[in-house]
Amino acid sequence: MATSPLQRAQTRLAYMLVLPASLLILVIYIIPIILVFAASLTDYTLVSDHYEFVGLENYRTMFADEGFANALRNTFFYAVLFLPGAFVISLVLAIAIQEQKQFRSVLEVLYFLPVTSTLSAMALVWAALMDSGQGVINATLETFGIPGVNWFGNGNVVLYSLAIISLWSVIGFNMVLFLAGLTAIPQNLYEAAAMDGADHPVDKFFRVTWPMLGPTAMFVAVTSSITAFKLFDTVAILTQGGPDHASEVFLYLAFLEAFEYFNMGYASALSLFFLGIIFVFALVQALFTDRNVQY
C-alpha cells in the first residue's frame, strides 16, 4: 500500500492519541482479567507461596458446590425482588414529578438525596430502623396491630429487607434517568396525540411516552440488573450472608472465598463467572440500544 508521508504522519498521530486511553484500559481491565483467569487455573491461596496449575478443577468445584448454587439462587431471587421495583417505582415517580410544576425541583432533590449518601453508612441507619426489638418500623407496625418482622434474622425475609434498602438507595438515580428521558420527548408528539384522540392518560403512555422512552428504559433496566448482581455492601455490613447463608449472594461468596478462606484460585473462578453474567447484560444493552438509534 502506497502511503504518502502526510498519511503516515496522521496515522502515527492517531495511534498516539488513542494510546493513553488504550493503556489505561489495558492496565485496569485487560491485564487483571487475564491474571484472574490465570489464577483461576491454579490452587493459589493467600496463605501459601506454593501453588500448582490445576486446569479447570476450580470451575468443576464451582458447579458442584452447594454454596455456589445457593449464592446464585439468592442473587437471582434478590434480583427478581429488586428489579421490578427499581424500574416501575422510579418510572411512576418520574412521570408524577414531571407533571408537577411547582415542587418539581424540590421533589427531585428529595428523591435523589439517598443516591448522594454513602450506602455503607446508611445501612447502619437502616439496621437501626429495622431492628427487630427497638426498630422504628416494627414499633410502627405494632401500633397498627401488625406483628413486627424479624427483618434480618429470618431467612425467608432477609432478602426482602436487603431489596428494600437497595430500592431506597437506587430509585432516586433511576428516577433522574427517566426524568431526563421524559424531558427529551418532544411536546408536540403529545399535542399530535391529543389531536388524534389519544388524550387518555393510558393512551398517552402507551402511544407516546413508553415507546419514546425505549432507549432510557433499556439503559435503566440493564444498569439496574448489574446493580442487582453487584449486591455486596449491605450484605457485608448487615448480615454477613446470614442467617444460615440465606443472604449469601454471589459477590459476597466470592469475597468470602478470597479474603476469609484465602482460596484465591477458586475466588478467581467465581469472579470470572460473575464477569460473564455482567457481560451478557452489557451485550444486551449494546445490541438493543443500537437498534433504537434512529429516535
Binding site: 399530535a192 391529543a194 384522540g197 402507551f206 407516546v208 415507546p211
Partner: protein, 394 residues
C-alpha cells in the same frame, strides 16, 4: 366542510398578552391564511382553534356550535404541525391509522398487543387499513406505508402528516407553517399540492405562515396579524392594492413597498420638489407608499413601462442593479431624500440582456403613477386620496 367563527379571543401568557380581542369568520370551504412575523400570535391563535390552548376569554364556534371547552379530538379538526410531529416509533401506516384507531377502538382494545386479540380490535382493523390505504394512494405515499418516518425525505414526511390529518375526515384543516422545513424547490411544489388538496377536498383550511408569498398564492383570504392584533382581513389582492394601514402595505409585497416622506401643502401632496396631482385631506406630513413595480424608467431602453401616460417625474440616485433575468431590481434613493432607500422592479421588454446605460448610469429619472400611490398619515393610517387632472382618472 364547516364554518368557523372566532369571537373576541383573548389570550395572555402570564403577564404578556399575546392575542387582543381577535374576531374572525371563516366560511365553508374557505382557505384563510394567518400571516405575520414570528411572535405575532398567529400560531397561538391556531392552537386555540385546535384546542391545544384555551383562550382567556372569547368563543370558538364551528357551524354555530361552541367548541371553546371541547377537547381537541371532539372538535373534528385536523392539524399539520410545523415539524410534522410524526410518531418516530410507528410506521407510516400506523401513524396514519392512529386517529382512526383512537376513534373506533374501545380503550381495552387499544392497549399494546390487544388490537389483534380483542374482537373489537379485529373487527375494526380491516376497515381502518382500507381507509389508510385509500388516503395513502390519494397522496401517492402508498408505497411507503411500512417505512418509519426517519427513513423518509422531508417532502414524504410532509405528505404523511397530511395523510394522518386527512384520514379522519375532519371538518376543519389547520396547518402550522407546513412548508417551512422544506427546501425552496419542494416548497413551491407542495404549495401547489396543498392548494389542489383544498380545492378537491372542499374543506375549510386555516393556514399559518410567516411567508407572505405563501399566504398570497394559496389563500382565498389573508388575515394579517401583528403583536396580537388582526390588522386587516381580505383577499390577497385587496391587501396588496388597498391596505388599510402602513404595516399591511409593508408586510405584503416583495420587494417591500417604498416609503417616501411627503408634505401636504394647500390640499396637494408634495414629494421633494414635485407637486403630485393628488389631493389628500388634512395638513402636515404624509407617508407615501410606492410599490416597486409601479415606478417607470421611461429613459431606459429595454425596460417595459409599468404604466401608460404621463406622471410626475423625479430624479433618482442609483446605488446598484440586480439582474434577475426577466426583470431587474434597481436600488437607489430619490435625489432629495438620501436616507430613504427606493427599490424599483422593472420588467425587461424584449431583450434578456442588461442595458449598459442602466448599469453605468448614476442618476436616473423615474416616473410615478399617481393612481397607484398609497398615502398614510404619521400614525400609518391610510388616507383617502383623489387624483387630479390625470389621464384616465375616474
Amino acid at each position: 366542510m364547516a364554518q368557523l367563527e372566532l369571537k373576541n379571543i383573548k389570550k395572555s401568557f402570564g403577564e404578556t398578552p399575546v392575542l387582543h380581542d381577535i374576531s374572525l369568520d371563516v366560511a365553508h370551504g374557505e382557505f384563510v391564511s394567518l400571516v405575520g412575523q414570528s411572535g405575532c400570535g398567529k400560531s397561538t391563535l391556531l392552537r386555540i382553534i385546535a384546542g391545544l390552548e384555551t383562550p382567556d376569554s372569547g368563543d370558538i364556534l364551528i357551524d354555530g356550535a361552541s367548541v371553546t371547552n371541547s377537547a381537541p379530538k371532539d372538535r373534528n379538526i385536523a392539524m399539520v404541525f410545523q415539524d410534522y410531529a410524526l410518531y418516530p416509533h410507528m410506521s407510516v401506516g400506523e401513524n396514519m391509522a392512529m386517529p382512526l384507531m383512537m376513534a373506533r377502538l374501545p380503550l381495552h382494545a387499544r392497549l399494546p398487543g390487544m388490537r389483534s386479540i380483542t374482537p373489537a380490535g379485529r373487527r375494526a382493523q380491516p376497515e381502518i387499513r382500507a381507509e389508510v390505504a385509500k388516503v395513502a394512494a390519494q397522496l401517492h405515499i402508498d408505497h411507503l406505508l411500512d417505512r418509519r418516518p426517519a427513513q423518509l425525505s422531508g417532502g414524504q414526511r410532509q405528505r404523511v402528516a397530511l395523510g394522518r390529518a386527512l384520514v379522519r375526515n375532519p371538518q376543519v384543516f389547520l396547518m402550522d407553517e407546513p412548508l417551512s422545513n422544506l427546501d425552496a424547490k419542494l416548497r413551491v411544489q407542495v404549495r401547489a399540492e396543498i392548494t389542489e388538496l383544498h380545492a378537491s377536498s372542499g374543506l375549510t383550511f386555516v393556514y399559518v405562515t410567516h411567508d407572505q408569498v405563501e399566504a398570497m398564492t394559496m389563500s382565498d383570504r389573508v388575515a394579517l396579524m401583528q403583536s396580537g392584533h388582526l390588522l386587516q382581513v381580505g383577499a390577497p389582492n385587496t391587501l396588496y392594492s388597498d391596505p388599510a394601514i402602513l404595516d399591511v402595505a409593508r408586510f405584503i409585497g416583495s420587494p417591500e413597498i417604498n416609503i417616501a416622506a411627503g408634505e401636504r401643502v394647500a390640499g396637494r401632496v408634495r414629494l421633494g420638489d414635485v407637486t403630485l396631482p393628488i389631493t389628500v385631506d388634512g395638513q402636515g406630513p404624509v407617508q407615501i407608499g410606492i410599490r416597486p413595480e409601479t415606478i417607470s424608467l421611461p429613459g431606459v431602453a429595454g425596460l417595459a413601462t409599468a404604466h401608460p401616460g404621463q406622471g410626475p417625474s423625479l430624479p433618482l440616485n442609483k446605488r446598484m442593479v440586480e439582474d434577475l433575468g426577466p426583470e431587474v431590481l434597481i436600488h437607489g434613493h430619490f435625489a432629495h431624500a438620501p436616507d430613504a432607500p427606493v427599490r424599483i422592479r422593472a420588467q425587461k421588454s424584449d431583450s434578456y440582456g442588461t442595458d449598459d446605460a442602466l448599469m453605468r448610469a448614476e442618476s436616473l429619472t423615474v416616473t410615478l403613477n399617481p393612481q397607484q400611490l398609497l398615502f398614510f398619515d404619521a400614525h400609518g393610517q391610510r388616507l383617502t386620496a383623489k387624483a387630479l387632472e390625470t389621464v384616465g382618472a375616474t
